[in-house]
């Protein structure tokens, strides 16, 4: 029984790490623009496919692949803002939402078009395929990679946002965009940086997702992207640590539900997540650590 719980905890940690990263990437943009960027999920898909292509087809070294994926992810983030969102800033929030939806559909179906409607088997480098057993708890090197890199990325990001000049400027812009302009902050640059950072993080999470589940497909990003938003709501809107906490909470809750309920209920995992969302919205819409958001 103890082993089983411990196993669930490990599984929850892995899933939670991925959700936490996704939530982090999404909240960077959300904090500043109040935009639920549906396209974020699309970046997971793109990231995964970039890794697939460079690793399996071009057969490049993993580190090089990592760098390429991060750069490409950031570039696409930049493009997104430039092409689709910039023109709509300052307008109705809903317009941005709809456009971000359109962007996601575009990404999903372009991937379907260029790659294939069928899922691909995803084989990460051999390093990631080691399996371990510790006192009956099973995990793989991929799991270790996911947890460790998630923690490092989150730590690095927190350092950035708290200590660096640009990071502080981002927090200021997230709070009051007009006053930030008065400080001489180039708000456009801040927003673009937010998009690029978020997208790069999403790209790398795409790799993790693919490595963990062994396959990638054109529609893998959708649910992940939406769940990232659920994580943000649960953990606290507008709060960066909240997003990360929310991600882990979501990961644990989902794992727990799937693990403890009878097998037939496993397919209900997504429904659970959304029921959780509705509950949180009903009882405490601010989330765990959220700041009061003007309605």
């Amino acid at each position: 029984m103890l082993i089983y719980t411990a196993q669930q905890i490990v599984n929850g940690l892995v899933l939670g790490s991925m959700y936490a990263l996704l939530a982090l990437g999404m909240t960077v943009v959300y904090g500043i623009l109040r935009l639920v960027n549906f396209a974020h999920g699309g970046l997971i898909t793109i990231g995964a496919f970039i890794f697939f292509y460079t690793l399996s087809v071009l057969k490049l070294h993993f580190i090089l692949t990592l760098v390429i994926a991060l750069l490409l992810g950031a570039a696409i983030g930049f493009l997104l803002d430039f092409v689709a969102y910039r023109k709509l800033r300052g307008g109705p929030e809903v317009a941005l939402l709809i456009t971000s939806l359109g962007v996601y559909i575009f990404i999903e179906n372009t991937t379907k078009l260029l790659a294939s409607p069928q899922p691909y088997a995803f084989r990460p480098p051999a390093l990631f395929l080691q399996r371990f057993a510790l006192k009956g708890i099973v995990f793989s090197s991929t799991d270790i990679f996911i947890i460790l890199s998630a923690l490092s990325i989150m730590a690095a990001f927190t350092m950035f946002i708290k200590r660096s000049r640009l990071g502080i400027a981002m927090r200021a812009t997230a709070e009051r965009i007009e006053t930030a302009r008065l400080m001489g902050i180039d708000v456009n640059k801040v927003i673009v940086t937010a998009f690029m950072l978020g997208s790069a993080i999403a790209a790398i999470t795409g790799f993790m997702w693919g490595a963990k589940y062994g396959q990638i497909s054109y529609d893998m990003g959708f649910m992940a992207g939406v769940k990232a938003f659920v994580a943000i709501v649960v953990g606290g809107v507008g709060s960066i640590p909240g997003a990360m906490v929310g991600g882990y909470l979501l990961g644990f809750t989902e794992t727990l539900m799937v693990g403890t309920l009878p097998p037939g209920f496993a397919e209900y995992r997504d429904a659970f997540v959304f029921t959780l969302l509705l509950l949180v919205l009903l009882l405490r819409p601010i989330g765990l650590m959220g700041r009061k958001e003007a309605l």
């Binding site: 000049r165 502080i168 400027a169 927090r171 200021a172 709070e175 009051r176 007009e178 006053t179 930030a180 302009r181 008065l182 400080m183 001489g184 902050i185 180039d186 700041r291």
Partner: protein, 233 residues
């Protein structure tokens, strides 16, 4: 130093400022007064660049800055302390001050921090505190300090006394006078004319978007009628 020429500003279809012209000489403290809705805040926002005029020109130290964005104007030395202070409540006092100097690339920051802390000792005390926990008066000091960190040549103040107790306001204005004595030009908007009547060199009285009167304060406010007519008593 600052020359505003025939400026028209409108929010959508609603005109806010019509055919406005005025000037501020270097080293002066100039006040814009008038009742609510006269357009005073709009003038300041237009000078700092967050609001674009429909027509007219703005000159600063011989440069035509009409097309400049706020980022560029801040770098040139035009700094606004907005209405309601608008400090970043989720950031610390220190971070707020740091942001004031965001656009600066020079290395005299530590020196300037010392200066601000000398001017407002309470800020040094509360340097690591979240700005949202400060009192109204302390927030105003923070807002002033933040503006000073930007190395302003022209300081714009939008209703610095708003929502503050009279004693606090007195202190604030004392500080503002000290600031002016260091050579910084000040243009302020104020509804409470009694506070400023002895401090300022020149006054512009606005009503419904236009300048109706101007001159040294003693002349302009000679009679109670003027006060009644333009400022609602």
């Amino acid at each position: 130093m600052l020359v505003v020429n025939n400026v028209h500003v409108a929010y959508g279809k609603i005109p806010a400022v019509t055919n406005l012209s005025f000037a501020v000489d270097e080293g002066q403290i100039v006040a814009l007064v008038g009742a609510n809705g006269a357009g005073k805040s709009t003038v300041l926002k237009t000078v700092v660049g967050v609001v674009k005029p429909l027509s007219g020109k703005i000159f600063f130290s011989e440069n035509d800055i009409t097309s400049w964005g706020p980022e560029r104007r801040v770098r040139a030395g035009i700094v606004l302390v907005p209405e309601g202070r608008q400090i970043f409540t989720t950031l610390s006092v220190y971070e707020n001050l740091l942001l004031g100097a965001y656009h600066r690339r020079d290395h005299k920051l530590r020196h300037d921090f010392e200066q601000i802390y000398n001017l407002f000792p309470i800020l040094k005390e509360r340097a690591q505190q979240t700005a949202g926990t400060l009192s109204g008066g302390e927030q105003q000091m923070l807002a002033l300090g933040r503006a000073l960190m930007a190395n302003p040549r022209l300081l714009l103040l939008d209703e610095p006394s708003l929502g503050l107790a009279p004693l606090v306001v007195r202190d604030i204005y004392k500080t503002i006078t000290e600031i002016c004595q260091t050579g910084i030009t000040v243009l302020l908007v104020e509804q409470n004319i009694n506070m400023i009547i002895h401090l300022v060199n020149y006054v512009y009285v606005m009503q419904t978007g236009e300048i109706k009167l101007h001159g040294p304060p003693q002349e302009v406010f000679k009679s109670e009628d003027i006060k009644q007519a333009y400022l609602g008593g």
